[in-house]
Symmetry: C3
Subunit: 431 residues, 3 copies
């Protein structure tokens, strides 16, 4: 039999690979195709918001689709070919078909002199423009002459597409899991988020849950704004915690980016798990934000959304280039982030407020939970005995399990087991 | 005339010595005898709680008494003799009279390989068992053969005994002083606590007091629980501060163990006095708890009880062995802890909220409290002049004397003197 | 054209020089003359409080005036001459005209052995006394013999004089600016405070203001107490921030002395400006207080008054000596403190609570406030773009501009500009 870790890691990575094929932008067929790939795993609903719809301060843009794009050099050689790498074309480029001088072409080219072998990722969603991206090494080889530029795209009335899945729990209180769908190709940012969201949803559907889970796949910024414009009232009323799923596929250190408030349940559980499971994690400030927490945590929305990721967007060299690929993101990297987010959810689900039912310490000995022979240096007959004593000391009806875990320095998971024993013994109750 | 320090230190040590004679456990005649020795100093009431009484989650156990216990080696030599050292028998051992092989005997022997010359202190209150304790050096000499084990003990319906003295004050608000009575022989843990409680009560009875003092001598754990089961309602309503008296007789650094809440009046006064009088004190966490604060501070009881001690139980090498004796505990050590606890009580008694009766600074000069000649670098004509000015600046009716002392960095005792002067001058009032 | 900095610095220094001429004490003609000099700049009201008036715990003393004072040596040489340096006579000295031995004279002489060339500043306001101050170097030259001491002063019923100017704003909420007027000669302590108060008032009168400004010139201690005895009710109701103006003329590091509460608006704005504009400032505690904040912040008054100064009174070698002169205080030093206090006031005036009017981030791009081309590493098309984004993230209707500036690490002045742009764009509103 295979190691479940390897098996599941490979499944995550396979979905990532499948998601590199559709070309995505904030709107268009590629987004729909991506959501249909995800539908093979979970019963996602695909929703459309028509172009021109007002969503808070924004307007849903025209739908953009692209079939082909290339540049021919003066000799007629195809030196840039969208079909070879989607990043070659600037996202939302308007249709073009003309001959331009090298000087004119240069105004529409983007490359990274500091990373000469990387094709950068560039977009122009809200201003009409066309452009191409290429490696700086290739760009430097361009010679004077007439170049043919061809972009076969359409920018027409259509819609913005998103995916949504509500997994009902015992209570209506919700946990939000949101991944953005817009970037083409790039695997860590953010195919990894879509993969994690898919597999977490799959796992959550497999068992009875306390909380309701709101699983969301939206294009970044305009998508989360459009989504909130339809759902904010319910989300504000019910969301107890949420996580942006992004940059979760490489094997580098974990990162934590807080919610705007900084001390929500999402923050508390994320920090607790990272401190115990990945103590070398990097702690960012909300000032370092950059993904959909910008919208979810904005004043007016103010949802309790934190982010647990690996290398944060904007900080790793491969970010927003063709180097953010299926080699940077590994089965092991994806599986690690998936497991860490599962830990967060498991603790959230068990994060009750506990209260002892007795004055004074309960007599653990008569219940087999304490060693009746008192010898110097040893009182507890079982693992985590001191945690049990400490849990009882702080289970005063004012603190949830995570708070107690933080006070006593125990991993929350150990306290979950202890709480089960103590409830069975009748000496603590949930509030 | 003798130094009062030496005289009183010697008196404290004499009582400690007297209290080594009765054999104590959580119940039994030895406890009663110990309380009668204390009654020679203070008018303690001796109370009984019958075996089988339900006290919160616990049941008062049968009363245990022991007359004799020994082990004879194959040659008939008495190699273990309870009469020579009470620690030789495991506390609450059931009666035994039989011949056993060395292998069988070993299952009932306790020693400390790391402290080969110490007899450990072992108990088995809540599970029927018999056993003996000895030095590891002696144990290693045992040879194969038949051993005679004899324990002449009784475990019968009886009662749990405790001592109580209420010293009334001007107000009904109470200060709790509690010492545990159960351990036999060991002087720091906790003959010292009983000695301190006795002499503090004696001192408190000698003068008019603001607060009522509740002086309690109980067996550890079961005793404080039984005591609270009878008195909790009053204690919760009236207790403004309390102290566990334990491990107060050696000469090592002071220790502070907070209440569960951590910021009660007991904590504040204890920390203030230790910071000023014994700045090298060791500050523990409530997670390091181990004596009756476990019960007094438990959720449901939640009394404001802190501990000021010398070497904390569990941390010093002599702890729970025959080495915790009248040499470890000295007249000087006992007197120091006694004096420190007196300082705490003196400050508690004077810890009023003060309020200036004037807008702006009062004119101290016309009252002889300020130097009327203003010369660079010198404004105050008396000791602690700056403390007086600072006290006035913070006596705003929202802070008690300890708070002001903490803000201005003054010892509370100095502020008590200043408050007397300022009240006499009519420029501050008590709230 | 001159540098405005130099021009204004020179104007400040000229007023300082003019204010060295009148001899001041807590009462007397010199105070009135000083206020009349200030009246040449601002329409100050001069008020009188009669001797004997009860002002809270104090009584306004008799008015003291001095015409001449000198000491003749046995040979008839004038070795101390009040007309040469006002500090030679102890403030509030009673009239004297007699011949005394050197021994008798010594009892009335004050000098500073550690600063042998400085004449100290000594007063005896509330105890009848006469005395002279001189350099220690001169004092050591005195020889045995009969000395003539002559002080032509009067201590008679009169009044305590203060200056007041209320500059009305759009709202009745007030900012207090208070300088003390009593010390003679000394330039940093506190001619500088009077100069700053005068020129700040002049500037404040020059434009429409949100807040009302209460400009006060009072003798130290008795003056601020007398002033509050007449105005406290209004001051307590209306004062949102206040500053003591003192020791603001030398070129050394800035100092901050908090209000008693420590977190008032005055404290917050002062700390913010000093952190950003003068990060090497010295942060004192309220325990280091020494000027009229002692009265304004006293319990009962409890006004939000902080102090921004250069070398704090009591800490610099020239303090309370003849060395605190027009060389220690420079045009540049005065201008710097003046500018820093203006910065505080400018920020106070614009310190509104802001709230975004949108859910989610507003679309800055369509308003020309964001670069529409998204390229790795560059999003903002203008200076302080990240501050704009961060300001929007925290403008949630619960925080004032200073709070947001502190959270996002921006200078408040930059946020004032941003708030103007964002209000014009309609995406934030003032609360």
């Amino acid at each position: 039999m295979n190691d479940p870790k390897e098996t599941l890691g490979d499944e995550l990575h396979s979905l990532a690979k499948a998601l590199t094929r559709p070309y995505r932008s904030i709107t268009g067929e590629g987004v729909r195709e991506s959501l249909r790939i995800i539908q093979k795993h979970i019963p996602l609903k695909i929703r459309e918001v028509p172009s021109g719809t007002k969503v808070f301060d924004w307007t849903v843009p025209k739908e953009w689709n692209i079939r082909d794009a290339y540049v021919l050099d003066p000799g007629g050689n195809k030196i840039i070919d969208f079909k070879k790498n989607y990043l070659h074309v600037v996202g939302y480029s308007i249709p073009t078909d003309s001959k331009v001088s090298l000087d004119e072409l240069q105004k529409h080219l983007h490359s990274l002199p500091a990373q000469p072998d990387a094709i950068p990722y560039v977009t122009s969603y809200y201003k009409e423009y066309w452009g191409f991206c290429m490696t700086d090494r290739e760009r430097r080889k361009l010679k004077k002459g007439k170049y043919t530029v061809h972009i076969d795209s359409t920018l027409e009335k259509g819609s913005l597409t998103y995916g949504e899945l509500i997994i009902p729990g015992r209570v209506k209180d919700e946990v939000l899991l949101s991944a953005y769908t817009c970037h083409p190709l790039m695997v860590n940012d953010n195919i990894s988020g879509k993969v994690l969201n898919t597999f977490l949803a799959k796992w959550l559907m497999g068992e009875k849950r306390r909380y309701t889970y709101r699983i969301v796949f939206v294009p970044e910024t305009i998508g989360s704004i459009a989504y909130m414009s339809r759902n904010l009232k319910t989300m504000r009323k019910r969301t107890i915690a949420g996580f942006c799923l992004t940059c979760g596929g490489d094997e580098r250190a974990y990162s934590y980016l807080p919610s705007r408030a900084g001390d929500t349940l999402a923050d508390r559980v994320a920090l607790h798990i990272l401190k115990h499971s990945h103590p070398d994690f990097i702690r960012y400030s909300f000032l370092d934000r950059g993904a959909d927490e910008r919208q979810y945590c904005s004043p007016g929305a103010d949802l309790p959304v934190a982010t647990v990721m690996r290398s944060k967007y904007g900080t790793y060299p491969e970010y927003h280039t063709s180097l953010d690929d299926l080699k940077l993101v590994t089965p092991k990297g994806l599986f690690g982030t998936y497991s860490t987010l599962k830990e967060c959810i498991d603790v959230l689900e068990q994060n009750y407020v506990y209260k002892t039912t007795r004055v004074g310490e309960p007599q653990l000995g008569k219940r087999g939970l304490y060693d009746n022979l008192s010898v110097k240096g040893s009182f507890f007959s079982f693992k985590n005995g001191q945690y049990m004593s400490d849990f009882l000391a702080y289970a005063d009806g004012t603190r949830d399990l995570i708070s107690i875990a933080e006070i006593i320095g125990a991993p929350a998971q150990a306290l979950i087991e202890i709480a089960v024993m103590l409830r069975a013994a009748g000496v603590v109750s949930r509030k």
